[in-house]
Subunit: 218 residues, 2 copies
Amino acid sequence: MLSQTEENYLKALFHLTSETANKSETGTNELAAALNVKPATANDMLKKLKEKKLINYEKYGKVSLTAAGRRQAIEVVRKHRLWETFLYEKLQFSWDEVHEVAEQLEHIYSPKLIEQLEKFLGYPEFDPHGDVIPNAKGELKLQARKTLSQVMVGKSCKLVAVKDNSASFLQYVVKVGLGLSSKIKLISRQEFDGTTEIEVNGKKSMVSQKFADNIFVV
Amino acid sequence: MLSQTEENYLKALFHLTSETANKSETGTNELAAALNVKPATANDMLKKLKEKKLINYEKYGKVSLTAAGRRQAIEVVRKHRLWETFLYEKLQFSWDEVHEVAEQLEHIYSPKLIEQLEKFLGYPEFDPHGDVIPNAKGELKLQARKTLSQVMVGKSCKLVAVKDNSASFLQYVVKVGLGLSSKIKLISRQEFDGTTEIEVNGKKSMVSQKFADNIFVV
DNA sequence: TAGTTTTGTTAGACTACCCTAACTTTATAT
DNA sequence: ATATAAAGTTAGGGTAGTCTAACAAAACTA
Ligand SMILES: [Mn+2]
Ligand SMILES: [Mn+2]
Ligand SMILES: [Mn+2]
Ligand SMILES: [Mn+2]
């Protein structure tokens, strides 16, 4: 069985090399940054994960998950998202509170627990942030979606998910009047820095490029 | 914040020095045995816990929890029993399956989670094994109860809790036809080894002294 | 193409938790 | 009261995961 730490590294690799990130491999420094450790530390773990055949990696080369590594990573993501859904749906947590606790709960080992939890929640498809919950087989349908920053001025779209899961970002999203399924109209965008004016429920707001990069819409 | 390991040591100390155990202090070897580690390992931790003022301990002396240590231990017990109740009541776990998973869940840190979980469960008083769930203040009402081995021949009693929480014991209990609230009649007891004949729902069974020591009744 | 910057690796050290083997202290039993 | 047994401690060592500092390779840039 994998340690919590190993699971966290695999999950980080999954997020850094997924469709969402638009690339299929990453590097030591990026991985280290994602996990808030130093590159030397990440390097040690890369050797270990390679030894366990969970990643593809050669000294000074790029890093990617093997099929086995991806399978393990997806299991962690599945547990994370099911727990977030539980906290949100059953325990009245707000969507900016669920992530932190799910970071702990995702490491609980018990196949029966996850199976029963999923059943208890009614086999949910999405977590509170709009992300797809992988099924028990590790299958994960990818969503056709783009970021708010990719939407053209004048067009309208619907918020389907958020990229960043931090409480500070999510609270900001709420403050702007947004939530899952919000309808957003693009009023204007500055060429210079990508600052965008949007309209939500008749209310206009200015949001940064960075903000728009973290909002997924269809 | 305490590590999982420290929490496990405090919880073990709590169980070894509680009313149920009929003593208020314990020793290095007993503690080590309870945690499946060697005495040398337990000794290291005793020094550490003393340093943190969570236990009363002097070299070669007996060990007991300080008020602060007891408070922490009870919090772990509270979480353990609430999670067991959740698994049993909401996720269709059987009473012999809950303990193992609760051993992991009891270490999740989130005051809001426990508060909401308790509310979600309807502020339960007892866990699936009949043990009292401490309240949020760390208060824990002690139960007037004795073991089946203390009941006199000819008397009847009601099963209110089990001492051992292992799957093997609990499955055995079920096999004998027992569960929480079962009415038990004491038919006979051998002087020699304490083997006892009991009657449950008209069905007679022979149980060992050890078995009877692990059944709490009123 | 030759710096220079970025990225990645290695060596050595630290903490937490665990072990074995040897030792010391305390308790028990003649 | 002494010998033996039981309980407890210490010394030294291992692994996992982290760090800093020094170094090596690759990528970029002028
Ligand atoms: Mn999350
Ligand atoms: Mn999420
Ligand atoms: Mn239990
Ligand atoms: Mn219990």
